[in-house]
């Protein structure tokens, strides 16, 4: 598939080929909408079903049933008639539903009648000392390497640290695969239980409960687990030691691989750049788009489905994708046949039950979200927590001014790895809320493109559009 082969207009453009995107594309294409799904990875599946069609891991027990559920979803989308384009990077989405996409080094601008953003989530920044050292990666990265390439940690000492369900899932997967995992440092704040407890009944009734319990058991039986409330990575050119505080004492552990995780947050860059209104979610400590029951946003024609609309997991993501697609079909072709939304909403409710418990239980530690001193906040431009805090104290009220003063958020990652930290630090220093502080103003390209790619936009297209405006 080349950029030149794309049509100039599609009824529906779906961005992201994880559960939400796959489910949405399947529903829309089956109902007769001309549908294209773009994903920047070499295959569909998103993060949760990463490499679902190509993983070298044939032993299904390693990744578990929840992973292999993606097979049916991918097959359904593949058979639906939707055009699925992988290796396609969407770098721009405007409020008029124009989409800028690059495929194999060439760019195109196409027009959509409806958009479903299904760009999912990314791991919450984990700004501790040494988190930029080679040898420190995210837990999600290790999981990706496992799913896509069948790579498991196999160094001298592997440490997994942080909090959240994925931490335990990855631990179990590494152990099942026969990889090396020497210690799990559980940084879940003990006090979280108090707020989580009232949601326990819902959790017990949810599908997460039994899965979660057996996962904890599986890991605890095979990996030493230590409760920690302080963590750093130490080394000059690469990770040498993990330093952690447990029961008031500091411990040092020689290690060559540290995998960090403290939950996932919506990947908001594309939606923000398109002008979608977002709000702060205090329970999940992140910004999320404001959506209605059909996942429509403040920008007419743009819906956000999946974890991008608020973290709820893979099964929920697929249901949200279906609802968003049903709404798109109804808007464009009221006579088309679509699945009944009611049972989908019921499944959604069932799946969402229990989420509050997990959110409160695994709400990450303040100290691990709001660093101090020389800890890097912005990895790209190497801006420290002290610089951000000092600048906030001097009167800098928001992330956009901070960006102009310190260049944080102006590197290639475009704030994905520092945005939440900068917002939370400003709020803390100025005694206000993250909601009031807000987030970086994001501009396309939401993924960097080369000058050559941009120059490659078909000239006729450029001229035609220029005349239309």
């Amino acid at each position: 598939m080349n950029a030149a082969d794309l049509a100039s207009t599609y009824d529906l453009v779906v961005i992201g080929g994880g559960p939400a995107g796959l489910a949405a594309a399947a529903v829309a294409a089956r109902a007769g909408l001309s549908t294209v799904l773009f994903d920047e990875n070499p295959g569909v599946g998103g993060q949760i079903y990463r490499a679902i069609a190509s993983t070298p891991l044939k032993d299904r027990a390693i990744l578990g049933d929840d992973y292999w559920a993606g097979e049916a979803l991918a097959a359904e989308a593949g058979a639906s008639g939707a055009l699925i384009v992988t290796g396609a990077t969407v770098w721009s989405l405007d409020p008029g539903l124009g989409v800028g996409v690059s495929i194999a080094g060439a760019a195109r601008l196409i027009q959509a009648r409806r958009i479903i953003i299904a760009t999912g989530s990314l791991e919450r920044p984990f700004p501790i000392d040494g988190w930029t050292l080679p040898g420190v990666m995210t837990a999600g990265a290790a999981q990706t390497a496992l799913k896509a390439q069948g790579l498991v940690p196999d160094g001298c000492t592997t440490v997994l640290a942080g909090t959240g369900p994925l931490l335990w899932l990855l631990a179990a997967q590494i152990v099942r695969a026969g990889g090396k995992l020497d210690m799990l440092l559980d940084a879940t704040p003990g006090a979280n239980w108090q707020r989580a407890a009232i949601h326990l009944p819902d959790f017990v009734l949810s599908p997460y409960f039994s899965k979660g319990m057996s996962l904890l058991q599986e890991v605890r039986g095979r990996v030493p687990v230590v409760r920690v409330d302080g963590l750093k990575a130490v080394g000059e050119d690469r990770l040498r030691e993990v330093v952690y505080r447990a029961k008031g004492r500091e411990h040092r552990l020689a290690a060559d691989l540290l995998l960090l995780h403290q939950g996932v947050v919506p990947n908001v860059n594309l939606a923000l750049a398109a002008g979608v209104t977002h709000r702060w979610n205090e329970r999940q400590l992140c910004f999320e788009p404001v959506v209605d029951a059909d996942f429509a946003t403040s920008v007419p024609g743009i819906a956000v489905a999946g974890d991008g609309a608020g973290i709820a997991g893979g099964a929920v993501a697929a249901e949200r994708g279906r609802l968003a697609a049903i709404a798109a079909v109804r808007a464009l072709d009221p006579s088309a046949r679509v699945p009944d939304a009611q049972p989908i909403r019921q499944r959604l409710q069932r799946e969402e039950r229990g989420r509050a418990f997990l959110d409160w239980l695994y709400r990450p530690h303040d100290a691990l979200r709001r660093p101090n001193g020389d800890t890097l906040v912005c990895r790209c431009e190497e801006v420290t927590a002290r610089q951000v805090r000092d600048t906030a104290r001097l009167g800098c009220e928001g992330p956009n001014q901070m960006k102009a003063f310190l260049r944080c958020g102006m590197g290639p990652c475009q704030g994905r790895l520092c945005g939440l930290t900068v917002t939370e630090l400003i709020a803390a220093e100025r005694g206000t809320t993250p909601e009031a502080v807000g987030y970086y103003r994001l501009r396309p390209p939401v993924k960097p493109i080369t000058l050559g790619e941009l120059a490659s936009l078909p000239k006729s297209e450029a001229e035609r559009k220029a005349v239309e405006r």
Binding site: A404, T450, L451, A455, L457, E463
Partner: protein, 378 residues
């Protein structure tokens, strides 16, 4: 409660902040009212060019006066504003174009302006080695340079406050009217009374002017800019083109800012712009042709700042023709950043003394008013 001041400055861009500073330096008490925050729009997000080159003759005196201030900017505002002087080069892409430039440079000399110098092919290559070989020469203004726009605007704001100006941000002006011998400026934070008012409201300045019976054909524009990731140093001066829209500069941190005047769709009431990628693609193609070294460079961001343009592409600077005590300072048409320091000084001089020695003839608002009989005053 009604606040009082000597002057109300409307608008916290570099122009309003500079005027507030120069008023305070003259011992006056200005209150500056800004609806967002200082430098939120074009003043904070422009390309940062500090350029005398290729300006309309009517604004050259202001530009030259400003250059003198830029060269002692740290003394003026207590911050070097990231200003560095490596010249601006206007590149000719054909012999015909170069001939036109030659005529312009000669004409400027006759008028007494010597800051523009013609470059032949060899001289151009010396100044801009990376430029494509098809370019036969150009024009340089050697004292020109570039600065960090947000930092500059903030520095003016900060120094103005240190010198006694009051700056109110997040407050919107809703109207103004005479109140005895003073002006009463209504704001979302209560009224302010002052004998003098400066309208430096940028893309919103026409609304103030209209209330004074001076409707102007202001166009809201949002010139687009792109910036690359950090590149090895390969170019010192700012490069501009005339036949095609391009301005091009490499900052000290290695990133390259590409602009030149292709416009985004502005939505001034929502503080929002929508980028026009087909036009940015035209910029990308121009750079592709002019600087082959840039072809694999990565574009990490694109944006546009909202500002005002006038039909004749020069600003409105001077006294109101209808309203005693009101002064206009807006409509800088995408090239007002360099003019900020001196225009603020001139406005302060006008406010304090009623006149200025810097020639600003031709910039008055009268040129847009239907009654051409009214003399354009400066």
């Amino acid at each position: 409660m009604t606040r009082t001041a000597d002057v109300v400055v409307i608008g916290g861009g570099i122009h309003g902040c500079s005027t507030a500073l120069h008023l305070a330096l003259r011992g006056l008490k200005p209150i500056l009212v800004e609806k967002d925050y200082a430098g939120r729009h074009a003043s904070g997000v422009n390309a940062g060019g500090v350029r005398q080159l290729a300006r309309h003759v009517a604004e050259i005196p202001l530009s030259i006066a400003s250059m003198a201030l830029w060269e002692r900017i740290e003394e003026l505002v207590g911050d070097d504003c990231g200003f560095a002087s490596h010249g601006t080069v206007l590149v000719a892409e054909s012999e015909e174009e170069l001939a036109g430039f030659r005529a312009r440079v000669e004409d400027l000399r006759l008028k007494g302006f010597t800051h523009e110098e013609l470059l032949d092919r060899r001289e151009l290559k010396e100044l801009v080695p990376a430029v494509s070989d098809h370019c036969p020469g150009g024009v340089v203004s050697r004292r020109d340079g570039a600065a960090d726009p947000f930092r500059t605007t903030q520095a003016f704001r900060r120094r103005a406050v240190e010198k006694g100006a009051e700056i109110i941000e997040g407050v919107r002006v809703s109207g103004l009217a005479r109140s005895g011998s003073a002006w009463r400026v209504e704001t979302s934070d209560g009224p302010i009374e002052a004998p003098k008012v400066v309208n430096a409201a940028g893309a919103w300045a026409d609304r103030i002017a209209a209330q004074l019976g001076e409707p102007v054909p202001l166009e809201v524009i949002a010139p687009m800019l792109m910036v690359t990731s950090r590149l090895p140093e390969f170019i010192a001066p700012v490069v501009i083109l005339r036949s095609r829209k391009l301005s091009f500069k490499q900052l000290g941190n290695g990133t390259v800012v590409i602009g030149g005047g292709h416009l985004a769709e502005p939505h001034r009431d929502e503080n929002r712009t929508v980028l026009d990628w087909p036009k940015l693609a035209i910029s990308a193609r121009t750079v592709w042709e002019l600087f082959p070294v840039m072809r694999e460079a990565t574009i990490v961001r694109a944006w546009a700042g909202i500002e005002a343009s006038m039909p004749d592409e020069i600003p409105v600077v001077g006294l109101s023709t209808t309203s005693e005590g009101v002064f206009h300072q807006f409509g800088f048409c995408g090239h007002g950043f360099q003019l900020g320091p001196a225009t603020g000084a001139v406005m302060a001089e006008l406010v304090a003394t009623g006149s200025t020695n810097t020639p600003i003839d031709g910039l008055g608002i009268a040129r847009f008013l239907p009654d051409r009989a009214r003399p354009a005053r400066s």
